[in-house]
């Protein structure tokens, strides 16, 4: 992993890097990846990755909640007329 890789990952993850952070992250990643890489040597039976976990859906119906819309809106860092407010996207 090089500086460019870390910068690309940070861009994907919407992280602004501090000064010197990219270098530190490379060092940390080297250590962590060296550790997790040991799974490469594991000989696993050829399992189909059929994930046993699956999404559990619920019907899209209105059910009463024990909290109000207002309480949720109150937590928005910025709101207008009950909607989230952010700077222009397009």
């Amino acid at each position: 992993m090089n500086i460019k890789d870390v910068q690309d990952l940070a861009e994907l993850a919407k992280l602004e890097l501090k000064e010197g952070e990219a270098e530190q992250l490379i060092k940390d990643m080297e250590g962590i990846l060296a550790y997790v890489k040991q799974i490469e040597e594991v000989d696993v039976p050829n399992i189909d990755i059929e994930y046993p976990q699956r999404n559990i859906w619920r019907e899209d119906e209105i059910i009463p909640a024990d909290f109000s819309r207002d309480l949720i809106v109150e937590q928005f860092p910025d709101a207008k007329d009950g909607f989230v407010k952010v700077k222009k996207i397009l």
Partner: protein, 476 residues
């Protein structure tokens, strides 16, 4: 009146409250007094709720009306990632510094119904990422047993609040050892229940396929009481397990006599401190003398469980933490446009370890590395599930030390992430496979530091863990 908080248990408190030896208010006040005395130094609690005595009075009314249950009036501390309506839940992070919960998590709702008294919210590693409570944005927590050492983590504040007699019971969460490891470091019992046993609704997520609400107790019985009052199907949590499936899973191991203990000795060859190994062997000897059959088992995939965990968990973390962007809750730092705002908010809001895991998770999920890391880790996880399932056809329990090291000094492991991660090496199999596990205090070193052993049992066999845990308490 003086209440002996050190030796207090849920049942003792319940008996005293029933017999009117003291009131719910007096019990809560006794804990508030200790908190006032100790918390500045320990930093176990981030906040003491302002309505503790009012809660205690309501609990008292339940007693007076004859409606009290075992948990009525029992003081609890709550980890900072568990939503309690009208109170801040910051997950130890700056990004949620001012986030007030809009609703109760299911666990809080159930405990409220039982009349439990919530004293305050406890410190934790940021978003539960850490094994020492040193990554919290709100300062470190000290170990009440030795103030120069960490209490473990991520539920370190929870553990310290209980070990410091600043609460009677303590609620934490686990993704990989976050209750068992601090339990070991603070001389407590820590239970990680079966995945899906206790609702995760209203818990700030870290790794959804691994997270589970978990509890500390001073005794096995205390952990059992809390588990039994919280374990139920919850329709608001899609990973909560329905009653029929619970029964089916439990039935698989109903033939177990609960007398055969398997030990994967080969996992302890490297990295376990000598004093812990000696203590472990002494504990094994006690079970042998008490009539348990001890057999060696081979768990070749378990050796890779922590490596697989450190791929799967960051992948889930990078996804989960993407929702903290300054739009719907928490802190916002404005920028010239929305992308700048995301980045500045996440720069101000996330600490070092959170950022490290976001980068790692983004990396293992990225094109070109996905197969080598994420898919391979899942294959290992499947193989591990089969391995553990197979082991439980031969033995009733799997026994390991809880943590390979003693509680370490504050700051000792902060510059070396991998050495910190290795604290949870024996925790990973239970979280990856969803089986329950319990950490049990197994004595102290000559210098007074606590040690701990861990039992794992088949899915939904917490009952077996409580049985053997109580047995161990009687052997000490």
């Amino acid at each position: 009146m003086m209440i002996d908080l050190k030796n207090l248990t849920i049942e003792k408190a319940h008996k005293s409250l029933t017999n009117k030896e003291y009131s719910c208010r007096e019990l809560a006040q006794a804990y508030l007094d200790i908190i006032k005395e100790k918390n500045t130094e320990l930093n176990a609690y981030l906040e003491i709720f302002d309505d503790v005595l009012a809660q205690a009075d309501e609990a008292q009314e339940m007693f007076d009306r004859g409606e009290a249950v075992l948990l009525t009036g029992i003081p609890f501390s709550v980890k900072d990632n568990i939503l309690f309506e009208g109170h801040i839940a910051s997950a130890g992070s700056n990004i949620l510094k001012n986030y007030t919960a809009s609703y109760d998590s299911t666990v809080i709702k159930d405990l409220k119904k039982a009349g439990a008294v919530f004293l305050g919210r406890t410190n934790m590693d940021e978003f539960a990422m850490g094994s020492s409570t040193e990554t919290s944005a709100y300062g470190i927590t000290r170990n009440p047993i030795d103030l120069t050492r960490v209490p473990g983590g991520s539920s370190g504040g929870a553990a310290a609040s209980l070990a410091g007699d600043m609460t009677l019971v303590s609620l934490g969460t686990e993704t990989c050892g976050s209750v068992r490891e601090p339990a070991a470091f603070c001389g407590l019992v820590g239970l990680k229940p079966t995945y899906g046993a206790i609702s995760r609704y209203g818990i700030i997520a870290m790794g959804n396929s691994l997270d589970q609400v978990s509890q500390f107790g001073k005794t096995v019985r205390d952990a059992e009481i809390v588990f039994e009052s919280l374990s139920r199907y919850d329709k608001y949590d899609s990973t909560s397990i329905k009653d029929e499936l619970r029964k089916e899973m439990k039935n698989k191991s109903m033939g177990s006599a609960g007398k055969k203990i398997g030990i994967p000795w080969h996992l302890f060859e490297d990295g376990v401190e000598d004093v812990i190994m000696e203590n472990f062997k002494a504990s094994v000897e006690k079970f042998k003398n008490a009539g348990y059959e001890i057999v060696e088992i081979d768990l070749p995939y378990s050796k890779y469980s922590l490596a697989a965990y450190y791929i799967i968990m960051p992948a889930e973390v990078s996804t989960n933490l993407s929702r903290f962007d300054g739009v719907r809750y928490g802190t916002r730092v404005e920028g010239d446009n929305i992308w700048e705002m995301f980045k500045k908010t996440r720069l101000a809001g996330f600490g070092e370890e959170a950022r490290r895991r976001i980068i790692l998770g983004t990396y293992v999920l990225s094109h070109g590395y996905y197969d080598a890391y994420y898919n391979k880790a899942w294959k290992v996880r499947h193989a591990l599930e089969r391995e553990i399932e197979n082991a439980f056809t031969k033995v009733d329990f799997i026994l390991t030390p809880t943590v390979p090291v003693l509680p370490f000094k504050i700051g000792e492991k902060m510059s070396d992430p991998v050495s910190m991660y290795l604290c949870d090496i024996f925790s990973a199999p239970a979280n990856l496979t969803g089986i329950p596990a319990i950490a049990l205090p197994s004595g102290y070193t000559e210098t007074g530091l606590p040690m701990s052993i861990q039992f794992m049992a088949p899915h939904f066999r917490e009952d077996m863990l409580f049985d053997i845990g109580k047995k161990f308490e009687s052997l000490r």
